[in-house]
């Protein structure tokens, strides 16, 4: 049986398949459909320092092989998370990762500090790439100085594995990746959503209450794959691939491009069993190709 274990900085994942934040709730939404503990880990939805209502409805638009969302970080805030959600996450014995977001550096630091004290949260993913909030979010992820500043500030208060999640809406994602690596990130994950828009031609109105939103799903896979390849060539820290991954073949492409692990996002909506199917498919691929360990695939693109 091929080895599926991968290392992500200090973490050991039983397999390289994680869930993307905001697409997998807090895990329990999927308990009826799959054994969540079979996954390499789960990244739960974004937590901010304060309670947030998110954006007004409508928040969703379907697009060719993808969707736009404008959720806008709806969550009950970090204190509620610690008290009411964290206890429910203790039932998962795989890697549980929190996604941390906010509008100010202080907010990010507050959430990271509080997450740091939670034993069962083994890493945080710093979301500096949310396109759906007026302040902060993606603004941090689209310039090197601000990406660097927030990473550095969080690094000071956070001891465990610090993953920084990058925005694709930039001229050079490589520069941002290098900046956050230099500022202390233990890993980078990419990509968050591409900024997009949908219009209803009949009503002449935007479909989303916020006019623009984040594009995800298979449509963005080629862009995500390119960025993972570009970034993994230059950074020394592990890269986690995200973007349109819906099958084992997709996942393997990201590993070959240089990812050490991958996240499944929107595909959880079209098939809630996507993650476990991908794990089985990766195993099958390794067997067919007589590859002993999945980690041999990382960066294994033949040029």
């Amino acid at each position: 049986m091929p080895g599926l274990e991968v290392k992500l900085h200090k973490l050991t994942l039983k397999n390289p398949v994680l869930t993307a934040s905001g697409t997998f709730g807090y895990g329990e939404e999927f308990d009826d459909f799959i054994d969540v503990n079979a996954l390499g880990g789960i990244i739960v939805k974004a937590t901010t320092s304060k309670h947030r209502e998110g954006n007004p409805y409508p928040r969703m638009a379907e697009t060719p092989m993808g969707m736009l969302n404008a959720v806008g970080l709806q969550n009950k805030g970090v204190d509620y998370f610690v008290k009411n959600i964290y206890p429910k996450l203790l039932k998962y014995n795989n890697c549980v990762i929190a996604n941390v977001s906010d509008s100010t550096v202080e907010g990010y630091v507050e959430v990271a500090e509080k997450m740091n004290r939670l034993d069962h949260i083994q890493a945080i993913e710093l979301n500096i790439s949310c396109p759906n909030v007026k302040e902060g979010g993606m603004a941090f992820g689209t310039s090197c100085p601000s990406a660097s500043a927030v990473t550095r500030a969080v690094r000071e208060v956070y001891d465990k594995t610090l993953i920084v999640k990058l925005s694709p809406n930039v001229t050079s994602i490589v520069d941002i990746a290098l900046a956050v690596e230099e500022a202390g990130a233990d890993a980078v994950s990419l990509i968050n959503t591409l900024l997009g828009m949908a219009i209803n031609a009949e009503t002449r109105r935007p479909v989303l209450s916020t006019v623009t939103g984040g594009l995800s799903g298979p449509a963005i896979k080629p862009v995500a794959l390119r960025m993972v390849w570009q970034v993994s060539k230059v950074v020394k820290i592990p890269v986690i691939g995200i973007g349109g991954i819906s099958s084992a073949t997709d996942a393997i492409e990201f590993l070959l491009a240089g990812a050490s692990a991958i996240q499944v996002g929107t595909a959880n909506f079209t098939d809630p069993r996507t993650t476990v199917k991908i794990i089985a498919g990766i195993e099958d691929y390794l067997r067919r190709h007589s590859i002993a360990e999945v980690k041999e695939l990382t960066g294994g693109l033949l040029l």
Partner: protein, 269 residues
């Protein structure tokens, strides 16, 4: 309630009129327990423009025959593909999702449905009838041809009809039907399903007459299982997911629903 992902078999697909189809689905395994008001998320295969699943109310469940029905109105590519499903084709489906209606017992209830909003009402009327309620059903449509399955509802109670063009029942908006005027005080509970404007108007009538009311919302959904937070409605306790906290709501808990328009509303979704 535990949710399932199932491959159901199309047992029949009956066109009720040009743009409404009744899909009968079956399974070798016993179907899960479902209650009126719950819905299913259906994967539409073979339609390149339909990436996400589509939500549909559970229209009927026949536990004896181990079958269920969906009532599908053709509005876009996804529903058009479902309308073309053939016997023995397979349909991948998540169910049962959301919370059903609160079922009254031995009471007097009114069900109001407009347009495709009648979809969950069949299952609801049947169960309310079984619970010993005196059931009245008011159905509205633009024209006689839009009034679906009225005959079948008669098994469960009185059926009232309103059409905008007067071709069947009372002429006018469903919300202006006489049963919602003079007789409304006789009901202990009103259940309503249909276009937003219609539900707001009915909720308003119920509130004005201090009658319990439940409405079933149809917000656009990406997941149907509480994972994406796309389907929210503003409630008195903040944004809530229609797919997990609803789709059935007491309109008094919804924000901006008390100021419901009393004027007529089109049945056009």
């Amino acid at each position: 309630m535990k949710k399932y992902i199932l491959d159901l078999k199309v047992l029949s697909n009956r066109a009720l009129n040009q743009n409404h189809h009744l899909l009968e689905l079956g399974s070798d395994e016993p179907l899960p327990v479902m209650v009126p008001g719950q819905f299913a998320e259906v994967r539409v295969d073979g339609s390149p423009s339909t990436y996400l699943r589509r939500p549909f109310s559970i229209h009927r469940v026949d536990r004896g025959a181990n079958t269920m029905h969906l009532l599908i109105k053709t509005v876009g590519e996804g529903t058009r593909h479902l309308a073309e499903l053939k016997k023995n084709e397979s349909l991948n489906i998540l169910l049962p999702l959301g919370n059903g209606f609160t079922l009254a017992r031995n009471s007097e209830v009114l069900l109001v449905g407009g347009g495709c909003g009648v979809a969950p009402l069949y299952f609801l009327a049947e169960q309310l009838f079984r619970q010993g309620n005196k059931v009245s059903i008011l159905i509205g449509g633009r024209s006689a041809g839009d009034i679906l399955l009225a005959g079948e509802y008669r098994a469960f109670g009185n059926v009232y009809i309103a059409t905008e063009d007067g071709t069947l029942g009372e002429k006018g908006m469903v919300t202006a039907h006489s049963v919602l005027k003079k007789e409304v005080a006789s009901f202990k509970k009103i259940y309503c399903c249909g276009p937003d404007g219609m539900m707001r108007a009915v909720a308003h009538i119920a509130a004005a007459n201090k009658i319990d009311c439940e409405v079933s919302l149809e917000n656009t959904m990406a997941c149907g299982i509480g994972a994406c937070l796309c389907c929210v409605v503003e409630t008195n306790q903040g944004n809530q997911c229609v797919c997990t906290e609803g789709p059935v709501f007491d309109p008094l808990t919804l924000k901006n629903w008390s100021a419901a328009v009393e004027t007529g509303c089109s049945l056009d979704q």
